[in-house]
Symmetry: C2
Subunit: 546 residues, 2 copies
């Protein structure tokens, strides 16, 4: 039997894994990812599913560990290809259903709700859900009984000993499985760089209380919309201070509604108000849950910063809390947001100035604890970039797993596991594709945009006579994003001369479909701007006959 | 008299300030800045000098506080316009001379070396240099005696009580000026978000020692090339362990040479070796000072990560230390670099996993100390984004300066100061321009690149008869970076139909110079892709007559 890493291990930051035995497989998680180069305007990445499609596996089930986008976001892309049941806890499936509805797939899908300690069969596997703690409720790890022994997949987890919902990380069950014998542990590497323990989500309550009490005006907090624990704490604190809570932004309003439906946000009626109702409340009687903690351009927070929100304006005395980590690549946008909110008169509080965020991922001591509890024979670090995976291997070795039993896999790598041990298997095709709007595209688009962004573009137009092959018009050069106003005309004139010289050297007659002419045009323009300005614009040669 | 903020206060992250009295002025610092959107390929920003050019001031001197790019990098752009003497300490001018040589300006400039506690006259001002501690040696603050009282400009500073070179922050002089009476303090806001004190540069030595001793192979360290204190410590530690030091990269080699020339790096001959000589040394006898701690694409570190360095290859047992903070916007590039170095077999150490960097900027307690020492009547926070400036004002108020005497200026703002007090003056023109290669351009180039990067480009070509005005060829659409392979042809066909429909509605005859035709083409294409894909490509309409 084989474990195949299709995403989440290394550069492809979205999670997808297959566990296969004799042609029958289960898929664990199926995530999407937002771009870390927002300038390039890429909507989202989803995993390339070529291998799943071509490997002729029978996929028996998809099992989702928790409700985050990087674990559930690409499910629609998988389900369009494979009609399989999807397992997850109530919270996970509630968010998944919302996601599928956006893809107009929700009606047709077989979603099966499971609870921690539930056991179900999928093909040759028996799967048990084990409760972990994380930044969204009812997250689970998986214990998969296979012919080659028990495999544990940690999902995303931390060990929170004072969880907001009182639902404890299931140490007991992990220890029992450890005693029974675990062939392989795959464990979340996200925070392997952090020493000690991650701290409990509930440790935020005192600072939330302090900030709320300090706000003379309204209290705004922005967190990930699926972070129902965080939302719950904000509401609890608001209630202590006689504030009602208004969700601001479509996504957060939906999450609050979901949270109420599935019993994660149990508050008396009237605790939540709509933004319309909020306008009748005094500032110190009001908290807002606003979307946009990553500086997303169309979010409620971004509009507040730009003073363009249709309903709400920041006023002096308002406190705005960005209660999440800043995702790398977003810092610049978030910086701008913070500066703008300050300029509107708010006091802005974020991770750099006060401990207003606690991570949902295990730090070093918790990672070591999971290894100690489960005592696996073999170990694969998952969910991280190469440096995280590498450090997690070192940690596992220090925790007592023999070096030769630790496997640093990257996306596309696989492991073959049998009764006697584990070894590396063949590489498979893995990667990601772009989704923009409704279309999924290949990555060459991204290469074009990178070139355009860095060095701009030059279109060279040449009109030749269909009868004689003589040049009727051109070469004429049009550029954008290459050189600025001052220098444009002179550079264009000289580059045009250069193209003309080359065409003269080739000599006519010219034809529209001659690739040599186009190649010469591209080369002449590239060389000119490379030599003169050190720039390599994207050149579009256009030759037409009339 | 007037203080004019031309850069460094708010969004324009490069420093430039003018202090003016009756038409005569001094300029303090003149910085450039590298882009925080590297994808857009912008070489660098320099301040727009329109106001300095048009205000008919007599500029008496430029005074440089220290050797960093964001304080000296745009000097050539200023000196091409104004022929004025430039004052700075030996270290500052050594780096400045290198910078000017790159602009072929070094021969013609009147550079005047000053030392801390030196006093010199410039127009109506008497200026005194006061030693501060910072991440490059011989950094100074300025005390400027003016008809309206003493103005103190902190430069960039921290208060390091155990500086590597033994040269102490001049508390005594600040206190004397405070006793004499300071009309205005302008102070560095960079690290106002950090509580406590910044810690001494020399506190790094134990960890450098530990990491060097741990390295079975070579020891690599990358820091800013002007950070001669850091370089000195690396060399001292290497010497303890019998390692010689090889600078790797042009910029760092130049800095080492400068540091030796000006007496900042006093080591016996043979302590430094060239990369050629280094090849004869055993790994544990060798340290490298490598350039590229920000992941710069052509740097030594980047080449090591890509295994494309012409001389050096990373091997198992090598330790690589990134000894600098990660500048926002660079995280993604640095992440990739770290992953690659790991993959080559190095152990990589950076700020997130070990305290291998100490900031050169004052934290809250040091900022308060400078205020207490100088007891200024008025206060302006400088060097920071809006949020830093805002927090620094709060800190100054808490330190005892009346709120109405604190001025939160942004670039383009000015303050009028006279014997009785300070008040806001008129706004002036301030901003930044792009420098790429040798050309300075306006910002519209950046707008074009943003559009190209996000949504790509469509060129629409139409060839009409010069005689009849009838369409001979086209409309023909060529796109790049807009939609990916799968969908291109269908979208292009439909967008072309849309353009054809519009042209039909207008009706001919068509002329090349008709703006209405071009506008219709642009509108048709924009609308199509906006409606169909939510994209707004940069459209280039091209109509020609033959």
């Amino acid at each position: 039997m084989r474990i195949v890493a299709l995403g989440g291990l290394g550069e492809i930051g979205l999670n997808l894994m297959a566990v296969e035995c004799a042609g029958r497989a289960i898929v664990i998680d199926c995530g999407m990812m937002f771009p870390d180069e927002p300038a390039l305007g890429i909507g989202a990445y989803v995993p390339r599913m070529t291998w799943l499609e071509q490997s002729h596996l029978t996929i028996e089930a998809v099992v989702l560990t928790h409700a985050h986008e990087d674990h559930i976001g690409a499910l629609a892309h998988l389900l369009r290809r494979f009609n399989v049941p999807v397992y997850g806890t109530d919270v996970t499936l509630a968010f998944t259903r919302r996601r599928l509805a956006e893809s107009e797939l929700d009606e047709k899908i077989d979603l099966r709700t499971i609870a921690p300690r539930d056991v179900f069969a999928a093909g040759p596997f028996t799967i048990e859900a084990i409760r972990v703690t994380h930044s969204t409720p009812n997250s689970i790890a998986l214990a998969i009984r296979t012919p080659a022994g028990i495999i544990i997949h940690s999902g995303d987890f931390k060990i929170d000993d004072a969880p907001v919902d009182g639902e404890m990380f299931d140490r007991e069950r992990f220890a029992q499985l450890g005693a029974e014998g675990v062939a392989l542990l795959m464990s979340d590497s996200t925070n392997v760089e952090r020493p000690g323990r991650s701290g409990s989500e509930s440790s935020l309550k005192p600072i939330l209380r302090e900030l709320t009490s300090r706000a003379r005006g309204r209290f705004f907090l922005s967190a990930f919309s699926s972070h129902l624990h965080r939302i719950r704490q904000v509401v609890e604190v608001s209630r202590e201070f006689g504030r009602r809570v208004a969700p601001l932004g479509r996504r957060i309003a939906e999450s609050v509604r979901l949270g109420m439906e599935i019993g994660q946000l149990n508050f008396p009626p009237g605790m939540f108000v709509t933004p319309d109702e909020a306008e009748f409340l005094e500032p110190h009687r009001l908290s807002y849950l606003a979307s946009g903690s990553q500086g997303e351009p169309m979010s409620a927070l971004a509009k507040l910063g730009a003073d363009s929100h249709p309903r709400v304006r920041i006023e002096h005395g308002d406190v705005v809390v960005l209660s999440s980590r800043f995702i790398p690549g977003n810092e610049r946008t978030i910086n701008t947001l913070v500066n703008r909110l300050y300029r509107q008169g708010a006091e802005v509080v974020y991770d750099a100035v006060a401990p207003v965020h606690v991570s949902g991922h295990a730090s070093q001591d918790e990672l070591a604890e999971l290894i100690t509890l489960t005592r696996p024979k073999n170990f694969i670090p998952i969910h991280g970039e190469y440096r995280h995976l590498s450090r997690h291997v070192s940690l596992a070795i220090a925790a007592g797993i023999p070096e030769q039993n630790c496997f640093l896999l990257e996306d596309g790598d696989s492991i073959v596991l049998n009764g006697t041990g584990a070894r590396r298997g063949a590489r498979v095709d893995a990667g990601r594709v772009i989704v923009e709007g409704v279309d999924a595209g290949d990555m060459s688009l991204l290469g074009e945009r990178r070139m355009l962004a860095r060095d701009g573009t030059v279109t060279a137009i040449l009109v030749v006579s269909a009868q004689t092959g003589r040049i009727l018009m051109g070469p004429d050069l049009v550029s954008r994003g290459l050189v600025s106003g001052n220098g444009t005309s002179e550079h264009m004139r000289r580059a045009t001369d250069e193209v003309r010289r080359r065409l003269g050297a080739i000599g006519g007659p010219f034809r529209a479909n001659e690739s040599r002419v186009k190649e010469e045009i591209v080369r002449a323009i590239r060389n000119y701007f490379s030599d003169e300005l050190g720039k390599r614009p994207l050149v579009i040669p256009y030759v037409t006959e009339v």
